[in-house]
Assembly symmetry: C2
Homo-oligomer: 314 residues x 2
């Protein structure tokens, strides 16, 4: 395809061959192979070179697209020149959704979203330190435990919603206060002990006298959603921006929690020295997300909400 594109631009196989450092015959065979594979003629051969046929003209932009895509793909892994790479906790998490929003409003940025698949923010910090990733969205319970080379800035707060099946007694509510959850069983599987989420739910249960069951392994979202859809007494908590309900909707309901809103604080871990230049725009973007009400509940270790002033410190 590279040969085809270049030959089409130059109008000659010979020159293209020279540029690629191969013989004219090699390029001729490449084109011939391409034509054989597509079963169309791409060039009309003339005495002074080649000229695109209709099929060739139609093919050319797509071929350009492909070679550019290949270049982007290899650039995405080359340590020196690689795109902005940000770690999130799960591709359907609120962080991922916010990043996706950012990318949609800035489609020109070369952004790769990855998941480290580790719970511990310190491991994420180590990956940032090592340069494996440029930044990581995490909730850091104790900033002092981070390595010296990385720092952390508050990104945004993710408000929680209750997710229940149609037979649950709270299924019809339009919104709920935390007090209304008292006595109901809230099941949040897959929470590693002593992780950032465990701490969060511990405090939440204590402060509002809730019954949050964080035990048991997580067998995947689909299993969880299946159970919720069938159950009349199990509910779970999800971030309002989390992208759930993906497989077959299941007729589940998301019910906002208010007075106070419950917020899970998310910070961005980034290197103290030479952060990726593209990070600035991302930070600005998350800082402009609609702020939560002043009465919002946050865990004790949450950083003070900085609103849009956070971007200044980047």
């Amino acid at each position: 395809m590279r040969s085809f594109v270049r030959a089409a631009e130059l109008g000659q196989l010979q020159q293209a061959a020279d540029e690629f450092g191969v013989t004219q015959q090699a390029v001729s065979k490449r084109i011939a192979a391409l034509e054989r594979e597509l079963d169309v003629r791409l060039f009309t051969r003339t005495a002074r070179g080649v000229e695109l046929t209709l099929d060739g003209q139609a093919f050319l932009p797509h071929a350009r697209d492909v070679v550019a895509g290949v270049d982007r793909a290899v650039a995405a892994t080359r340590p020196g020149s690689r795109a902005l790479r940000i770690d999130v906790l799960g591709l359907r998490s609120a962080q991922a959704v916010v990043l996706h929003d950012y990318w949609r409003s800035h489609p020109e940025t070369n952004l790769d979203v990855v998941t480290l698949r580790v719970d511990d923010p310190r491991e994420a910090a180590a990956a940032v330190q090592a340069g494996d990733i440029d930044a990581s969205f995490r909730s850091v319970t104790d900033a002092a435990t981070l390595p010296r080379d990385v720092r952390m800035i508050h990104a945004f707060d993710s408000p929680l919603e209750l997710l229940v099946g149609p037979r649950h007694p709270l299924a019809a509510a339009r919104s709920l206060t935390p007090a209304k959850l008292r006595g109901h069983r809230i099941w949040v599987p897959g929470i590693a002990p002593r992780s950032e989420w465990a701490d969060f739910y511990d405090q939440l249960a204590t402060d509002f006298d809730l019954r949050i069951d964080a035990a048991g392994p997580h067998f995947g979202d689909e299993v969880l959603l299946d159970i919720l859809a069938d159950s009349a007494d199990v509910a779970t908590l999800v971030g309002s921006r989390d992208r759930y309900l993906w497989p077959a909707n299941h007729d589940l309901r998301r019910i906002p929690i208010v007075r106070p809103t419950l917020a899970y604080p998310l910070s961005l871990i980034l290197p103290r020295a030479n952060p990726h230049p593209g990070l600035r725009a991302v930070i600005d973007h998350v800082a402009r997300l609609t702020p939560l009400p002043a009465t919002t509940w946050r865990p004790s270790w949450a950083p003070a909400s900085m609103c849009s002033s956070a971007s200044k410190s980047a």
Copy 2:
């Protein structure tokens, strides 16, 4: 790359190999070759399959992009399932610009713009008839000469502007009436005798008593622009939507012509039976272009301006 994408989705080389109808070892070698070429590890191998590394995660969407691009590329040439293919007279012509506008407002359409490189509308009609292209923007002086299998509908009128260099006596005008052009030399090179353009300029010269010099070969836009920029007495006519002034601007001026506006009529030639379904939207789009004033001059063979009702007949 296909193997990589599929293996990443399935989490196993084995299954991917089964799908591709090759052995597991073959896929393993493909992945290994990719990793060697990129000089990164894409998968971590586990006992129950493979899992993406960070680099692999970053690479995956780009790889998906590439394979999708390849699929689009081959689809663009396959006769059965190919994209909407429309012929225009030059990639910088008003027709091409209008199509580009259309594509920008409907990025999802798979549109290929090609140039047949023939002047004669009947040749374009033959290409439409043969199925080489789905439609062609042309100015047809005599609809009766078209083959029975194709038909023609009015697309839009392209208003003309005068293009002059800074030293030309008319260079300072904000707009001009055709009468003001009288006596000035207008040079329109590259017009084949008895072509649609030749007829157009003949009538124009006659109706307004102008001096239009259509002789001489066309050595390319750059040469024409060079000559215009230097000359104090040569001007030319261009469509207001034509994408000229491309190389280095040359300090040329485009001066609209009004009272009356001079319009070059463009029709769309399309097959009478089974036109490409995507054509409807294109026709609707060009029909919605801002109409020209009622006093607009058109050549005698121009179809009556149908405004937006043209789309009905598609």
